[in-house]
């Protein structure tokens, strides 16, 4: 099944379509964030000469203000940029590395396969969240380091799944025919086998987007977020430290709802992809 066919089937799936609309909405929000956000997210607002601390939602501050008099709505809008940046870049890197490792291991087999899969086995023993937290704290917090930490570990799944696919594909007649016709290894791998594993790679990619968004939020929530960027996790970090669970629900709820919506949209798409790649799940 080609990628074009996959996409067409995806749009016909109700939940997947909802997912595409949600994620598309967030992409637009991120692109136009500076135009949509009414204020600078770091600006400290004053009302009647006093800092506007912990004001509940009003027409002036749609989602209220923080303990430092910052506008929550502007922060949440700007936060969409980091979430999407981390989600998409990590997913792209992971899919790129994972697919290539899977392709090489499955195609060449033998020692190369054994070596690469040993590495994957070891990576499987590493717990994800603690690893990301430790690495980011050691590398010093930045958006890029979060992306790197997430990517370093998650390619293991993509590689394993792609390898399994390649192993069976490599035995198919069309691959043998290509070989007999004198095609080079590279040509067989990337021209004949790769298109067949792309739908699965796409599915894995959408898993990674969800993981990466949550991982960024988690790391920032703990306090290892990029100090220069506004992210949903960081807003929640400040809210948690300031004890907003007791005093300011309008500060706690919105960033979380934004995360849930974005990740839910991604999950909807993932589910659609899953039932296309593996038709048995449709249960018809």
């Amino acid at each position: 099944m080609s990628v074009g066919q996959v996409l067409r089937a995806l749009v016909r799936d109700r939940l997947a379509l909802a997912g595409i609309i949600i994620v598309g909405g967030f992409v637009l929000l991120a692109i136009f964030a500076p135009l949509i956000a009414p204020y600078d997210p770091d600006a400290i607002h004053r009302v009647d000469g006093r800092v506007a601390r912990l004001l509940p939602p009003s027409s002036q501050f749609l989602l209220g203000t923080t303990n430092l008099g910052r506008d929550v709505f502007s922060q949440v809008v700007m936060g969409s940029r980091i979430a999407l940046q981390v989600g998409l870049l990590a997913a792209f890197m992971v899919t790129f590395v994972g697919t290539n490792v899977g392709l090489i291991a499955g195609y060449f087999g033998g020692r190369i396969d054994a070596f690469l899969m040993r590495i994957v086995d070891i990576l499987y023993g590493i717990p994800f969240t603690p690893f990301v937290i430790l690495l980011v704290s050691l590398l010093e917090p930045s958006v890029w380091n979060i992306i790197i930490a997430v990517s370093l570990l998650t390619w293991r799944t993509v590689a394993r799944i792609c390898r399994a696919q390649v192993l069976s594909l490599a035995q198919r007649p069309f691959v043998k025919a290509a070989r007999v016709a004198g095609a080079s290894h590279l040509r067989i791998m990337y021209r004949h086998i790769l298109p067949n594993i792309l739908p699965i790679a796409l599915l894995e990619m959408s898993f990674v987007v969800a993981w990466a968004v949550i991982a960024e939020a988690s790391v920032s929530f703990i306090g290892f977020g990029d100090p220069r960027a506004v992210s949903w996790g960081k807003i929640l970090h400040s809210a948690f430290i300031a004890g907003a669970v007791r005093t300011a629900p309008w500060w706690v709820a919105p960033p979380g709802i934004a995360i849930v919506l974005l990740v839910l949209g991604v999950h909807f798409i993932t589910r659609g992809l899953e039932s296309i790649v593996n038709p048995r799940l449709r249960g018809e």
Partner: protein, 324 residues
């Protein structure tokens, strides 16, 4: 079988060794130097040199590495905590139990409820109920556990005042016996919120898996027979069909046990649950690398152990699986 066990254990040992090495160099070669972070520049050069010597940081890197491995393997010694000035292992010992209690409780609850729910979803496939059910499961999966935790604290701890918002025991608790330490009402009350949040976070996997395997079972003849006999729907779902769809769900419980142990970090952090995950976060913020390192390795070892248990459980539950 024995050969399989031996090979799996050997594999885990090799993985752990590689992990020990990676962690050692990760902590020493990356930009944030643990010693600089620990040592106050105002101490003066002699005091700094003494501190370096105290923690063995004045030796060349490879000697430190050999010593580090030797101490771990022969004495189970992960070094001294920079912060507490105590062996890291002593600080972490009872935290392992706390993490395991939380993780296992959460996982058992998630799998019990998820199985029941997933079976219903499969039975009513194609209906609005199914779409709503799947959406709910995916929403719980999409919600970051630390945020759900904050919302629950807001509602159940501060709003309604039903449950404590953090910690594992009321202050002033005195230990009377090891068993009663965990079998008392106070401990249980503190466990409810974090365990519920963690369970909700992992309920999607068993729910969706159960739905999928149920779909395969539902068209079997014995289900038709049960329907023809006029049994009630609930009886058919849970006593006839679900039993035969359970196997993949139970095996996934085993594989997820390892992941759950590693995934408690944020729940522990939000609820100040004194477990391994929270200790990692605290140690990382205090630049207390021996503790962070030891806690990380312990979580990794637990994950590997759980994976081996899962492999064995597989064979026990499904005799078609042959160990080679």
């Amino acid at each position: 079988m024995l050969a399989f066990m031996a090979r799996r254990l050997l594999q885990a040992a090799v993985s752990l060794f590689v992990l020990l090495t990676i962690v050692f160099f990760m902590f020493r070669l990356l930009p944030a130097n643990p010693v600089d972070a620990m040592v106050d520049a105002a101490l003066g050069p002699e005091a700094i040199a003494r501190l370096y010597a105290e923690f063995g940081l004045d030796q060349p890197l490879w000697q430190q590495y050999v010593l580090y491995l030797k101490n771990i393997i022969t004495k189970g010694d992960f070094g001294m905590s920079f912060f507490f000035r105590q062996p890291a292992v002593d600080i972490l010992a009872d935290k392992i139990v706390n993490t395991l209690i939380l993780a296992i409780t959460a996982l058992v609850v998630a799998y019990a409820l998820g199985t029941l729910w997933g079976a219903l979803l499969a039975w009513y496939r194609g209906s609005a109920f199914e779409t709503a059910g799947i959406t709910a499961a995916l929403t719980f999966k999409a919600a970051p556990e630390f945020w759900v935790g904050m919302i629950f604290v807001m509602i159940f701890a501060y709003g309604l005042g039903w449950l404590p918002h953090s910690g594992m025991r009321e202050p002033g608790y005195e230990e009377t016996s090891v068993l009663l330490k965990y079998l008392n009402l106070d401990f249980l009350r503190h466990l409810i919120l974090p365990a519920t949040v963690a369970a909700l976070g992992s309920i999607a996997t068993p729910t969706l898996l159960m739905r999928n395997t149920m779909l395969e079972v539902m068209h079997e003849d014995f289900v038709e027979l049960a329907k023809a006999k006029g049994l009630s729907t609930l009886r058919i779902i849970y006593l006839h069909a679900a039993r035969n769809a359970l196997l993949p769900v139970v095996t996934s419980l085993a594989t997820n046990l390892g992941r759950a142990v590693g995934g408690m970090v944020l729940v522990e952090y939000v609820f100040s649950w004194p477990g391994l995950g929270r200790e990692i976060v605290l140690a990382a913020t205090r630049y207390d690398y021996p503790v962070a390192q030891a806690a990380f390795l312990m979580i990794a070892a637990l994950v590997m152990l759980m994976n081996i248990v899962a492999d064995l459980l597989y064979g026990y539950l499904d005799p078609r699986i042959v160990y080679k």
